[in-house]
Structure formats: C-alpha cells, structure tokens
C-alpha cells in the first residue's frame, strides 16, 4: 500500500525541508532570541552550583552532559516538575493511558475478542494515540440553545478537579504535589466538586437526556459520598492523622485492610459509584438516556471528559492504596545506586563522565514508587473487572444500596476501629504499634 502522492519528487521534498530549516533558524535568531533576552533581563536568574545561570551557561552545559545534570536535578526539585511530571499530571496521565489500553485488552479477553490489534505493530498499542488524534480532529458541536460559557467550562472544570485530586496522592516518601495536614478533608472537598460539574454541564447543554443523566449523577454521587466519608473515618481513627503521608507512615507494620476489611469493601463500592463505572454507570446508560450527561459533548470536549475520568480512576485507586494497602510501604527490592559512579565518575570509551550532585532519585523513592504503582495497578484492575461480568443496576437500587446498606456497614466499620483503639490494640500507644 503506497501512501506517496503521485506527483512526489524526492528532490523537491528535500528542498522544501531545507527551506523550512532556513526559515526556522532565521525567525528564531531574529525574533526568538531577542525575546528570550528581553525576558531574561527582567526575571531573576537562578544560582546553580554557585554559578549564575545565564543562557550562555545553560547552553554550555547542554553541550557537556555531565554539567547538565545539576540543571536537571535542580528542575526536579521545583514544584513545576512535581505538578507537571512526576507525582502529578504526567505520571497520572501515563498511568491513565495505560489503564485505557489495559482495560480494552482485558475486557476483550473476557469477551473472547482480541481488542485493539492493528494500530501500532504490537497488539494495537498505538490505538489510544489514534483515538486521541481522531477526537482532536473532530468538530466540536455546541447545541444552539446551550448555555455556552458553562458548556465550554464543563470539561475543563472536570479535568481540573481530577488534576487537583491527583495532586493530593502521595506516591513516595516526600513525593507529593500538595501535602496539607488535612489531606483527607481536601480529598473530600475535591470529590464534592464532581456532581456539581455534572449537573452544571447537564443543565447547560439544554437537552432532556443530559438533564436526566445529570440528575442521576447528582443523586448517585451524593448518595455515595456519605458512606465514602464514613468508611474512611476508621482509618483516620486508627492512624490518628488526616495527612495522607502520615497515614501511609502509620501502616509501616500492618495495612489497615487487615483490621478494617468492611471499610475497604464499602470504600471500593463507593469508588465504583463515584467513577460511574459498571455496574453503577447509570448516568451514562445508553439504552435508556443515550449517554446521560455526556450526550451533547463532541470531539475533544468528550476527550477531555474521558481524560478526567481516567485521572479520577487513577486517583481513587491511589487513594485506596494509600488508605488501606500501605501506600509506598514494601520490602526494599530496588538495588542501591552504585556509589563509585558518584565519587569517581563513569568511563564510557574515551569519555569519563562525572555526576556531581547525584543520585537524582534516591533508592527509597524509587522503591516506594515501584510498590505504589504495583498496588495501584492491582486496584485499577479490580475496578475494571466488574465491567465484564455485571449488568447495570437501576437508580432506585443504587440509592437503596447507598443510603441504607453502605452507611450501616460504614458505621460498623467505625465501631470496629473504635473498639481496636480503646482496647489498646492499635492506635497511639497500642501494643501492636
């Protein structure tokens, strides 16, 4: 199958490439560099390794890899890196993308299909990218009588709230974007945003299906938020802290799921409902209400909602790991960093590279991340599994479950936690701790 145009000529193609490079260099040197210097004139330059980091110094370091590392290291300790890349958005989006791919293959295996197969050489691994490009290239259609500002704002708010949720999850000791002392309360506050966003967008789209779907989402999420909050109180009672990192540290010896299995089960069910996943996907029940509150979204607006949904999925799975499965705690399996590379440098052929300021990531952080990711992936797979085996439930069944059964179970869980605390088994001063 040839994709080369019939009038294609290689010489002309190469010529056009040179043209492009010429114009890029010209515009960069005439416009880009002056702008960079004008900006640099006004901002305060950072000092790295006792040297003022001017642009010339930065370029010199780029030519010499061993001198680049301090920049990288310095960057990795900034908040921007934490927000954008590692414990924040980039890491979560990577896991979310992997989740979508794994979900499709996993579900296909349950249903005796093959799933994505052709896009990308290996098992359709690039299918997600293809879908993303398709969504980006599609037209965004807005209903004529929609409340346009709020309709536009909906997906952005959704991704924003999901990102805020992600930023609260500690991945490794010290590696968390935001670490407030009332971390769990902050989580509850962020979760409380999602039904509001659903109802706002549903109302703004001005359609009957989105309206019904939005009301369903509101009922469902509100009904399940209370058991969600109550089921986590047991953990707070035993660990004596609302700070998520402190909660992880308190599980150094025992995971709370061993003492509070009821709370873990209730929390898991509420996760399914909050994420609108099967069997609680009523707000998007396509045979009754088309696509629920997502009916009128098209193109990348829908893509953003999906991105937010999967970020939320990762964040909830991470929260489950942090609260019940011991977070980053686990046996030290990561090999220690060879110290002589730091002290003596490494010789590759004729070049001897020195790494001042290494190690970039310490052993504890890498080990913690490894265990956190393993546990989170396990929980995500558990969240995906019901989609293959359960039908959808009805709204009255879901409300009955939320308001009656789960709240009762959550209270039983709190009493178990209080009993363990006052019997002197666990908690501050307990004989197991």
């Amino acid at each position: 199958m040839s994709t080369i145009a019939p009038q294609f000529r290689l010489s002309r193609f190469i010529g056009s490439l040179f043209d492009l490079i010429f114009w890029v260099i010209l515009i960069f040197s005439l416009v880009g560099l002056p702008i960079v210097f004008i900006v640099l004139f006004y901002i305060k330059l950072p000092v790295i390794n006792n040297q003022l980091m001017t642009p010339y110094l930065a370029m010199t370091w780029m030519a010499d890899p061993s001198r680049t590392l301090p920049i990288v290291k310095n960057f990795m300790h900034t908040t921007i890196f934490k927000v954008m890349a590692f414990p924040g958005f980039g890491f979560a989006a990577l896991l979310a993308a992997a989740t979508i791919f794994v979900e499709r293959k996993f579900l296909a295996k349950i249903q005796l299909r093959v799933g994505p197969l052709y896009c990308g050489k290996i098992e359709g691994i690039l299918q997600l990218m293809g879908d993303g490009f398709k969504l980006m290239s599609k037209e965004i259609i807005i209903p004529a009588k929609a409340d346009k500002p709020i309709f536009w704002l909906g997906p952005l708010l959704f991704v924003g709230a999901a990102g805020a949720f992600v930023s609260l999850i500690p991945v490794a000791p010290g590696w968390v974007v935001a670490n407030p002392n009332v971390g769990l309360l902050a989580v509850f506050a962020v979760i409380g945003f999602f039904p509001i966003i659903a109802v706002l967008t549903a109302w703004a789209a001005n359609s009957k299906w989105t309206f019904i779907g939005g009301l369903r989402a509101l009922h469902q999420m509100v009904a399940f938020e209370i058991p969600l909050i109550l089921s986590l109180l047991g953990v707070v009672i035993l660990s004596g802290s609302l700070n998520l990192s402190q909660i992880v540290v308190s599980q150094e010896h025992f995971w709370w799921i061993a003492f509070l299995p009821i709370g873990a089960i209730v929390f898991f069910i509420t996760i399914l409902a909050e994420l609108e996943r099967v069997p609680f996907d009523l707000p998007e029940a396509e045979s009754e209400i088309v696509a629920g509150w997502l009916t009128e979204f098209s193109g990348m607006m829908y893509g953003l909602i999906q991105l937010g949904t999967y970020l939320k999925l990762y964040a909830f799975a991470g929260l489950f790991v942090v609260l019940f499965l011991g977070g980053w705690n686990g046996p030290m399996v990561w090999p220690p960093f060879p110290q002589d590379i730091v002290t003596q440098g490494i010789t590759i052929g004729p070049v001897t590279a020195k790494f001042p300021g290494l190690p970039l990531f310490d052993q504890e952080m890498l080990n913690g991340t490894l265990w956190f990711v393993i546990k989170t992936v396990g929980v995500i797979l558990l969240i995906l599994l019901p989609r293959g085996v359960f039908p959808r439930v009805r709204i009255d069944m879901i409300l009955h479950t939320g308001w009656y059964k789960l709240i009762g179970l959550a209270f039983i869980n709190i009493f178990i936690a209080l009993g363990l605390l006052y019997a002197g088994v666990l908690g501050p001063g307990g004989f197991l701790q």
Partner: protein
C-alpha cells in the same frame, strides 16, 4: 400543578411534572421505531409506541411477483430469521399449488428453521445483554452465532439471507459432510449455552433488576393477543410446533418451554431455554432424516394457483407467523397478508410500561421479543 391552556386548546391537561421523551428513532435503545414516553420523575406514566419507520410494503410487492419471485423479498423483514419467515409462505403455496414435498426435504427444512431460530435468538440475546449494560453478554452470543451462520452458509451458500426454503422443498441438497459437522457444532454450542446461565441469568444484579418488573398476567397475555415467548413466559402452553404440527415436527422429540412468572426475567429466559430445545430438535432430525433422496419437487414454469385461499402459520423466534394467501388463477397471488409475532407483542407494551421505572424500559421493551422491521413489514 396544572397550567390552564387558552380556550380551544384543551386537548389534554398539561402537567408541569410530566416530561415527554422521544425514545427513537435515533436513540441507541430504540431500534427502528419511536416510543413516546411520558415520565413523572423516574416513573413512566404513559408509553405510545410509534412503529412504521421501516415499512416497505412487502404485502403489496408480493402481488406483483409470481410465487417463486416472491421468495427473496419476503425474507427481508427478518433477515436473521429468514428461514422461519419463509416457512409459512412455502407451506401455503404448496397447499395452493398441490405440491408434495419429499420426506428428506421436510427434515432439512426443519433443521434449517431451527438453526435459524438459534441465530435469531442469539442476536436477540446479544442486544438484550447490551440493553442491560452487560457487554460480555453482547459479545458472547454475537460470536457464537457464527457457528450456525457457518452451518447455514454450508447449506445454502449465503450467510444471512438464505432463500433456502422454496415451495416444493429446499433449494439444494446438504453438503457431503454436513451431518457430522452440524452435530459437532451443536454439541459445542450446548456447552456454551450453559456458560450463559452462569454469567448472565444467575447474575444477582440482573435478577434483582428484571424479576418482578413488567408483569403480564396469564389472562392479560391471552386478552392482548400476545404470542411466542411472551405468551409462554406468562404460563400459556402454546406453541404452533406442538399444537398445529407442520412438516415433521410431530415425529420429533422436544418440549414447549412454559414459565409462570410473566415478568421480564421469565420473558428473557424462555427464548434462552428454547435454544436447548432447538438443539434437541436438530440432533433428533439429523438422526431420523432419510440419508438420501430428492430434496425438491420440480414446479412447472410460472405455476398458477387455483381460485383458492389458504392460511398457514408456523412458530418463529418471535411467535407465530401466519400467511394468508389468496390466488385467482394467475401466476401472482391476488393478496398476501402477513401476520407477524413482533407486531402482536408490541400491542402489550403500553400496558407493561405504565407505572414502570424508566430504568426498566429497555428490559421490558426488548423482552417483548420485538423486531421493528418485521412489525412494519
């Protein structure tokens, strides 16, 4: 709170609490039809089915074609149950023209009809699964359907619209190794069917959702004129194959599935249990079938019916299908009237949906074993 309309517009009292939903024709849960549903909160106060979007005048078309030319277009309403919708036509035309069908052809017709019934029910079950949000139950029957499609392809050469049954027998004989192949695939399929039970019918969420919803009592089922699986799910022992046996059904060993509950769960279960009986029929027919012989009585070119009329009916996947054929000494029929199960089951839908929750709508709707294209004809 009711709003007063201006004088002259009192068609009905308008209630602010009532919302009208047009489910269809462009709705993932409707099919080629529209349901005008009025909801009060989550409860349906009235439902008005509006079929007719795929009406194509099959009955009128049949008046302009001769008895053989009618075959391909008459199976169009239900292309995935094409043998069964042709069956009563063939029986009627044979009676009109006075044709004897060879014994082997009768068995082959029964096998084709039962295979096609399984194809239809599997398709129906797949959509029932996805209507209830059970995606595995969509994929499994859709995949297992291939077994029977392959068998019918070997018999007739076509995968969907077979045009295999013709007045006078079947179009062509079976391929050489058909018996072993059919037996093997049917036995494999029976094993697969048992897995459906575990993953779908014994699923606690499915039972909680469908049991006790949309109950159709025995008297109502008879009074509203339902047929097929809907009738049998309400406890009425009626199956055309048993009560008015055609071809060789009286020689074959099978049971009529009757459930007493009359709710959505029973209506979803009757076709599933009927697939076991279909497999029994196929295996029995393969055993009792004459191993050789003619499969088709040759007709005269352009045969003419007498000045006569005939009504024949059979049991299809959706209930009884009846053909009323009138001829007036011409090669074309004077009038063909088709009575299909889908349309007769649709009649009870407003009764079932009134007072139900909106979430029960897909289960009740698809449990009626309704195929919109067949109902419109």
């Amino acid at each position: 709170m009711t709003t007063q309309l201006p004088p002259g517009m009192h068609l009905e009292t308008v209630d602010d609490k009532i919302m009208t939903l047009n489910v269809g024709p462009q709705h993932p849960g409707s099919g080629h039809m529209r349901l005008i549903i009025k909801v009060d909160g989550d409860y349906i106060v009235s439902c008005d089915p509006d079929p007719g979007y795929v009406h194509r005048g099959e009955e009128k078309m049949a008046e302009y074609r001769n008895y053989i030319q009618n075959i391909p277009h008459l199976e169009r309403p239900v292309i995935h149950d094409s043998s069964n919708i042709l069956y009563p036509y063939c029986l009627g035309v044979e009676e009109l023209l006075g044709i004897e069908v060879p014994e082997r052809a009768k068995y082959i017709r029964v096998i084709a009809a039962e295979l096609n019934r399984c194809i239809y029910i599997l398709y129906w079950l797949a959509i029932y699964g996805i209507f209830l949000g059970h995606s595995t139950m969509f994929m499994w029957p859709a995949g297992d359907r291939e077994l029977f499609i392959d068998l019918l392809e070997a018999m007739s050469g076509a995968r969907v619209t077979h045009a295999y049954l013709v007045p006078g027998g079947v179009r062509n004989d079976l391929p050489s190794n058909f018996e072993e192949r059919c037996l093997r695939q049917v036995e494999y399929f029976e094993k697969r069917l048992k897995e459906y039970e575990a993953v779908f019918y014994q699923n606690p969420l499915l039972r909680a959702r469908t049991e006790g919803s949309g109950i159709l009592s025995r008297t109502d089922a008879i009074r509203l004129g339902t047929t097929g699986s809907v009738l049998r799910a309400s406890g009425v022992d009626f199956d055309v194959r048993k009560k008015e046996p055609y071809d060789v059904y009286e020689n074959l060993d099978f049971q009529t599935i009757v459930l007493k509950e009359g709710d959505s769960y029973a209506r979803s279960r009757v076709p599933y249990l009927e697939m076991f009986e279909s497999c029994r029929i196929i295996k029995d027919a393969l055993k009792k079938m004459p191993k050789s012989g003619s499969v088709r009585t040759k007709l005269k070119p352009n045969p003419k019916g007498g000045n006569d009329e005939v009504y024949r009916r059979i049991e299809s996947g959706r209930g009884a299908i009846g053909y009323y054929i009138v001829s007036n000494n011409r090669p074309e029929p004077y009038r063909v009237k088709i009575s299909v199960g889908s349309f007769r089951n649709l009649i009870c839908m407003p009764y079932l949906l009134k007072g139900e929750k909106l979430g029960n709508m897909p289960a009740v709707y698809w449990g009626l074993n309704y195929w919109p294209v067949e109902a419109d004809r």
